[in-house]
């Protein structure tokens, strides 16, 4: 039996579910601008209350529901990241859903269900819960991608992501099944204990299971060679959803990946780190090199997100549990840079017209110096220029590789970030040093966008100049792996 008192530990999840259901009802009973605004505000209230409850869970380490669910600092840290993503995306969606005519009740409730899935996925060491959480998240996002139903690209993105995602899910499930078949265990902690006593590494079935797990997670984090969907889906999806996917889904997938591999499969690191070494190098190189020739800013950011997955993998494959904190720190930093950059992309678009080609940014520095300045800060942070937080994130990731004596990997990562600087700087030079090629439309001004940009800029400077506090928090969060 499950004692009722255990439900107090999943209060954030319950709040999110409840608010999502309320939003659905509101969307069903009323339409129009007013109801859209009310749904947005309610979604914001819901995510703030969930954030408050999650912050209260800091420092609690407990297994609940027959060990199907776990509350620990690692999960709580990532939950806070997801709720920050939810809050920021909700704020930019106020205007965006109205502009693009997206049904707002369903939109906000699916955003919340998606975050619920992410939260379930990262705070469990049971394969069943991880898998179901991943599916809740993925299904919400397949739908969110296709919400611009008059736009062929959006529908294409949704279908493409759904088909490939379902395929990747099958791989993940097959991997879990093979691991279960060869050990009879679904619980990660038990699995670790089992692996330490017996040596199933010689069993081919177990190895095949690990390989398939890498394929399944590799798809979700958009690593090469499972990255083909990323540019099309990121380009076609509504831009607010692109921001949500690039930050939330990536953080959730990395969260689950790190938990599965560091909790259970760490004794076996020499086996999988070689595979992931190759994947990390390919991900960085192909992501960055392909980004060089992109002329569409959304596609460019998609390739840059592939490259960033590569940087995070660099810290991941060192397998040094003391440096796991650098992964969490990077994910947190990455959230702010990306949401900021996508906010600017949204501001330049209009209903039906996205204006995402790089020429639309020409002359922005003269016309709208504030927006251009913010965009430059986000791009410089993505490129990893000090004193911005992107630099601190890359610094910790690469120093993890150096300290674990993965020298070649560190060299490749640094060379890649040099290449990356080229395409980020190209947008900046376009904004400041080029005359506008054609007449540009009005920029979609709304105070909400300005607010989100200011929050992101502040966060990037704060985490770039004083990263210590956040690193300490991340270190406390990853202490569970020690």
């Amino acid at each position: 039996m499950i004692p009722a008192s255990e439900f107090k530990w999943i209060l954030p999840e319950i709040i999110l579910t409840g608010w999502a259901l309320v939003l659905l009802l509101i969307g069903g009973f009323s339409k129009g601008a007013l109801s859209s605004r009310i749904s947005g505000i309610l979604c914001l209230v819901g995510s703030f209350s969930a954030l408050f409850c999650t912050l209260n869970l800091w420092g609690v380490n407990i297994d609940i529901f027959n060990k199907l669910y776990t509350i620990d600092d690692y999960g709580t840290f990532l939950k806070v990241v997801f709720l920050i993503v939810l809050t920021l995306v909700t704020i930019i969606s106020f205007r965006y859903t109205e502009r693009e005519g997206i049904a707002s009740g369903e939109y906000y409730s699916l955003l919340m269900f998606g975050v619920l899935g992410m939260m379930v996925m990262v705070s469990s060491h049971h394969f069943i819960t991880i898998f179901i959480g991943l599916e809740v998240m993925s299904l919400s996002i397949y739908i969110l991608c296709g919400l611009l139903r008059n736009n062929v690209k959006s529908v294409e993105a949704s279908l493409k992501y759904f088909l490939l995602g379902a395929f990747a899910t099958a791989f993940l499930l097959y991997g879990i099944a093979l691991i279960y078949g060869s050990t009879g265990i679904l619980d990660l902690v038990e699995l670790k204990r089992y692996l330490l006593t017996k040596q199933p590494f010689a069993v081919t079935m177990f190895l095949a299971g690990i390989g398939l797990l890498i394929v399944g997670f590799g798809f979700k984090i958009a690593s090469v060679p499972f990255h083909m969907w990323t540019p099309d889906v990121y380009q076609g999806a509504p831009t607010s959803i692109t921001a949500y996917m690039a930050t939330g889904v990536k953080a959730a997938a990395f969260g689950a990946l790190v938990r599965v591999f560091y909790t259970a499969l760490l004794p076996f690191i020499c086996g999988w780190s070689t595979i992931l070494w190759v994947i990390a190098v390919l991900t960085m190189c192909i992501g960055n090199i392909t980004a060089l020739v992109q002329r569409d800013v959304k596609r460019l950011l998609a390739y840059s997100s592939i490259a960033h997955a590569g940087y995070i993998l660099v810290a991941f494959i060192t397998g040094d549990r003391e440096f796991t904190s650098s992964i969490l720190f990077y994910l947190l930093v990455y959230t702010f840079m990306n949401i900021g950059a996508f906010t600017v992309v949204i501001m330049l678009g209009r209903n039906g017209e996205e204006n995402t080609d790089i020429d639309s940014y020409a002359g922005l520095g003269v016309r709208r110096p504030f927006i251009a300045l913010c965009m430059s800060i986000f791009l410089l942070s993505l490129a990893g220029i000090p004193p911005l937080a992107g630099f601190a994130g890359k610094f910790y990731v690469i120093s993890a590789a150096v300290k674990s004596q993965y020298y070649w990997l560190a060299v490749i990562a640094v060379l890649n970030s040099v290449v990356a600087a080229y395409y980020y700087l190209r947008i900046i030079t376009n904004m400041y040093f080029k005359e506008p090629i054609r007449e540009l439309g009005v920029i979609d001004d709304a105070p909400q966008y300005g607010f989100v940009m200011l929050v992101c800029v502040w966060a990037l400077f704060h985490m770039g100049i004083f990263p210590r506090m956040f690193i300490l928090l991340a270190q406390q969060a990853t202490r569970i792996f020690l």
Binding site: E106, L110, F113, H126, I132, V136, R149, L178, S182
Partner: protein
């Protein structure tokens, strides 16, 4: 299923496994969607027989009723309602580089899985649910106890998964207003 000679069981398993694999291959290679759907029913039935061999009678019945019955009915309805004009589609080239590569990788992968299964030694732990125990307590009760007892949290989250699926179907299929 206790009491049946192990050799006979092995024979049934091989036949149904081959039938399941063959019919699923037929399902993905048919041009006519109705034929694909019918082959899928054969697959579902063969898998139901494999469940029976594994002493999972409840799952077997559920498989026949839910998958081969209800879900296939829906699939056939959808095929008829959206009225796919098959045959008019551009014929894809018979052999192309991606196709050959994909085929090669798939074959290699399945050979590896086969090698893995052939080399299988049961190193896993034995669970409490032995065939004798299942026979005494009943299959349905065992599943119910697990599903609503130990795994109730996963069960609840799965209900949200289904809800999200329903929302998606409604949102994406409803009429576009202009």
């Amino acid at each position: 299923m206790i009491g049946i000679d192990i050799g006979f069981k092995w024979f049934i398993f091989v036949v149904t496994a081959l039938l399941a694999t063959g019919s699923s291959l037929m399902m993905v290679t048919r041009k006519n969607p109705i034929h694909s759907a019918l082959w899928l029913i054969v697959t579902f039935f063969s898998i139901a027989i494999i469940y029976v061999l594994l002493n999972a009678t409840f799952i077997a019945v559920a498989q026949v009723m839910v998958y081969a019955g209800a879900i296939m009915m829906l699939v056939l309805f959808v095929i008829m309602l959206i009225h796919l004009e098959w045959g008019k589609a551009q014929p894809a080239p018979k052999y192309s580089f991606p196709k050959l590569m994909g085929g090669l990788i798939t074959v290699m992968f399945f050979l590896q899985v086969l090698a893995g299964i052939m080399a299988y030694t049961n190193i896993g732990k034995k669970d409490t649910y032995t065939p004798e125990m299942l026979a005494s307590m009943g299959n349905t009760q065992a599943i119910g106890t697990l599903l609503y007892g130990k795994y109730v949290f996963a069960f609840e989250i799965a209900s949200i998964l289904l809800l999200v699926g329903i929302i998606g179907a409604v949102v994406l299929a409803k009429k576009i207003k202009d």
